[in-house]
């Protein structure tokens, strides 16, 4: 019953120059998609701290999508390479901290790929919907919250 009307929450970290603009293009082209994703705009995938993703899951996201420029097309030349290198280690780490790493999705969507963006979003939403809600953290008690640097 619960499962039937489960609507997943997807937090999407997208770079400003490629994917965010690609999503804009999807809009100007009126390409319809499901409403489950919320975008967080960062200048570059290189800006995305792995802890953002853990935090998103911890705070109740059922799936996280990270999307930036195609390798070689990065507006900041190399940012997305650093990002990519980071994810390779990070993915293994995820399972360790109790997050099903298959709920984390990566894609490269350029400014001219509105259609591709729509497909990516819908696929992520559908596959997370199929997995059902992410309960890993919801069950943990608040004491064991990951230490987050927040200097204010």
């Amino acid at each position: 019953m619960e499962e039937e009307k489960f609507e997943p929450k997807i937090t999407a970290f997208v770079c400003n120059w490629c994917t965010y603009t690609g999503a804009d293009l999807a809009g100007t082209s009126r390409l319809k998609q499901q409403t489950n994703a919320r975008l967080i705009r960062v200048p570059c995938t290189g800006r995305i701290d792995p802890v953002f993703i853990i935090k998103a899951f911890e705070k109740g996201a059922d799936g996280v999508l990270v999307s930036g420029c195609h390798p070689g097309d990065c507006h900041y030349n190399t940012g997305n390479f650093h990002a990519r290198r980071r994810w390779i280690f990070f993915k293994q780490l995820l399972d360790f901290v109790g997050i099903d790493s298959t709920r984390l999705y990566f894609s490269w969507v350029s400014a001219s790929e509105g259609k591709k963006w729509v497909d990516v979003v819908n696929n992520v939403i559908n596959s997370v919907r199929a997995k059902g809600p992410f309960l890993g953290y919801k069950n943990l008690n608040k004491e064991t919250e990951l230490p987050l640097v927040n200097k204010n």
Partner: protein, 668 residues
């Protein structure tokens, strides 16, 4: 924190699928929000006034606007707010149009999403804090890539305004495709007669540094401050010594090996050559692939005859660095290779037309050379196979254009006009000849264009047949053209002496590579994209990089020249100010917590991070920390994500700003 929230209907655009009043109402209850309202057009004058008013009356110190994409109106609203006394960087935009109303149908769920999006921005703005724009100096020099008519025009405009230009051309001479044309439509004035003076002007202009036979290797930096690496290809001739006497070219024994690029393969050229007599610069090049000296160390005839000892067989490619503030891309087009599909698959694109198989089936550009006074036939109308005057000639339009199966779905725009011109030129030279044109539609939009086409039909008696040709083959020395007249609904079979295929304009093969080097987007055909097809047609998405001519889409000479001047104007606007304001989205180091591991230095793509020593009064070193040069920092934030002690922060996208957004969505 006193936050004001403003929800825009964007006429019907947002209002249709997002219940804006409901959104506005919901936002009013968010902690920290002291004012919330919605309005039909927030970006309009009255809309902006609503914001300014609210700022004053409720003395707000932060604003969130739910409207179109920040790429559209972020600047507008920031300006409005700073006019009303709020720091412009205390303003955030929620993209309710592109990312919500336009991509959803269901009003309730779209409205819920919109509320989420607003909440996320309200939470973010709480951590924004005031910022001041960064001012960087502008290098008042321009780089123009491509020496065709577009590049020439742009260079001259900028140079004549008094700024230095570096013009880079990959061929040995500037002039581009226009130098190959015979006459130009719709005036029928000789192409070279109007072009060559411009070429010479470029060469003699004190402000223009012409680098022919060179290519852009690498580009770094940003608007106002690009640093460019240019590869000067080895010419094997010292340009500072060569007088362009041409003796070496005359004496070069390797005469007939290579086909002339300039004559589209209808003639040959020596190993030591200048592309064409009026070439600029008039300095020859050695084609090392066929020169016998480079093959087996023999000959050196050119060296012997050169009085100035300008020949240099040992010459190497040379990398030149240039600092410029603006870049204009004018790399032009290339002609659709008829006999092969663009993807070079083994299947021939137009096998049914026998191009490459029959000498007397030629491309449009080849016909230009045949018609041109400077061409292989010195302007005499002679067909390639037997140098006889073709008495019956067939022109076929849309070869590769408007053809998804074998070419591109777009229209090449210029073919209708140049085909009419070809037919006209033919009739002017062969009075008793018959000229037929197979067309699908005549697209003659342009000043005096339609009149021009009608003239070809009414005055010169060119026969226009509405329909595509299915097959061309040779029979008894005739070129048999099998077509259909779809108006009369009758089969048309013409036993011609020659056929001319109006082939599509396509993007240069290297265009995508160049676009990636420059960091500008390009379309699926390889044409470089403008930011906005209507309102920003000559700008790319990267600041300071502009477009001119056919590198953007098929274009004729007048359009290209107009676009080139427009691009030049854009560069000049940039040069109008000494300093450039940049968004203060840069990394900042917290020296108190920085441990000086300098990982940030390692990952920075702009060498913006350096080590800084902190000393006490007596000059004793306390510790080493990272320091970010905000002039160089481009604000990618990679350092921020990398820093183990979170001591580097990217202003505008600080950790707490992003966590705020994460929590605002996920937690509810």
């Amino acid at each position: 924190m006193r936050i004001g929230v403003f929800t825009c209907h964007c006429g019907e655009n947002i209002g249709r699928t997002v219940d804006c009043p409901a959104v506005s109402k919901a936002c009013a209850d968010f902690p920290g929000v002291v004012h919330s309202e919605d309005y039909k057009y927030m970006c309009s004058d009255p809309g902006q006034n609503l914001i300014k008013q609210a700022i004053k009356e409720k003395n707000l110190n932060a604003v969130v606007v739910g409207s179109c994409s920040p790429h559209m109106h972020e600047k507008t609203f920031r300006k409005a707010c700073s006019d009303a006394g709020i720091n412009p960087f205390q303003v955030e935009i929620a993209n309710l149009r592109e990312h919500c109303s336009w991509i959803h149908d269901d009003v309730p769920s779209a409205t819920l999403k919109a509320i989420d999006m607003m909440r996320m921005m309200v939470e973010k703005v709480k951590f924004n804090g005031p910022l001041t724009p960064i001012r960087v100096p502008v290098t008042k020099r321009a780089l123009v890539i491509g020496g065709g008519i577009s590049g020439i025009q742009a260079s001259l405009d900028i140079a004549n305004a008094g700024y230095e230009v570096i013009l880079v051309e990959k061929e040995p001479s500037i002039g581009g495709h226009m130098s190959q044309l015979s006459e130009t439509f719709p005036t029928l004035d000789c192409s070279q007669c109007i072009l060559t003076p411009r070429m010479v002007e470029v060469y003699q202009h004190s402000k223009i540094k012409l680098m022919s036979y060179s290519e852009v290797e690498n580009v770094e930096g940003f608007i106002g401050n690009f640093s460019v690496t240019i590869r000067k290809k080895a010419r094997s001739v010292k340009d500072e010594l060569c007088t362009g006497c041409g003796l070496c070219v005359q004496k070069c024994p390797i005469k007939k090996v290579a086909l002339s690029e300039f004559d589209e393969g209808l003639a040959t050229r020596p190993a030591m050559y200048v592309p064409f007599p009026q070439a600029v610069p008039n300095i020859p090049v050695i084609d090392r692939t066929i020169c016998t000296y480079f093959k087996n160390g023999k000959c050196q005839m050119c060296k012997k005859v050169c009085g100035r000892e300008a020949i240099d067989f040992e010459q190497q490619d040379e990398l030149v660095k240039e600092e410029v503030g603006s870049i204009i891309i004018a790399t032009g087009y290339k002609l659709y290779t008829i006999d092969k599909k663009p993807d070079d698959s083994p299947i021939h694109g137009y096998g049914e037309y026998g191009y490459g198989k029959y000498k007397d089936v030629v491309s449009g550009l080849q016909f230009e050379r045949i018609a041109s006074a400077s061409g292989p036939t010195s302007g005499e109308m002679l067909r390639p196979s037997d140098k006889k005057v073709p008495k019956k000639i067939v022109f076929i339009q849309c070869v590769g254009s408007r053809d998804e199966a074998k070419g591109f779905s777009y229209c090449s725009k210029i073919c209708c006009m140049y085909t009419a011109k070809h037919a006209m030129l033919y009739k002017h030279k062969v009075h008793d000849g018959e000229a037929y044109v197979f067309y699908m539609d005549i697209r003659a939009g342009g000043k005096m264009y339609e009149e021009f086409v009608r003239r070809a039909i009414e005055e010169d008696g060119v026969k226009y047949i509405r329909g595509r040709v299915s097959r061309i083959y040779q029979d008894d020395g005739k070129i048999i053209v099998k077509g259909e007249d779809t108006i009369a609904g009758v089969k048309v079979e013409i036993d011609a002496d020659m056929a001319v295929l109006a082939t599509a304009m396509m993007a240069q093969t290297e265009a995508p590579k160049l676009a990636q080097t420059l960091g500008v987007p390009y379309d699926k055909y390889g044409f470089i994209n403008e930011v906005h097809p209507k309102l920003r047609p000559v700008e790319t998405s990267s600041g300071g990089i502009f477009l001119a001519g056919a590198c953007n889409s098929p274009r004729d000479i007048p359009d290209s020249v107009a676009m080139a001047s427009a691009a030049a104007a854009k560069a000049l606007v940039l040069f109008g100010s000494d300093m450039l304001e940049r968004e203060p989205v840069v990394a900042k180091v917290n020296e108190a917590t920085c441990a000086g591991c300098l990982y940030c230095k390692k990952v920075c793509a702009y060498n913006a991070v350096e080590a800084k020593e902190i000393k006490d009064r007596n000059g004793n070193l306390i510790k080493v920390v990272a320091y970010v040069n905000s002039g160089l920092c481009q604000g990618c934030g990679t350092c921020n994500a990398t820093c183990p002690s979170k001591s580097v922060e990217l202003l505008g996208f600080k950790d707490d700003q992003i966590y705020a957004q994460i929590n605002a969505f996920a937690e509810v």
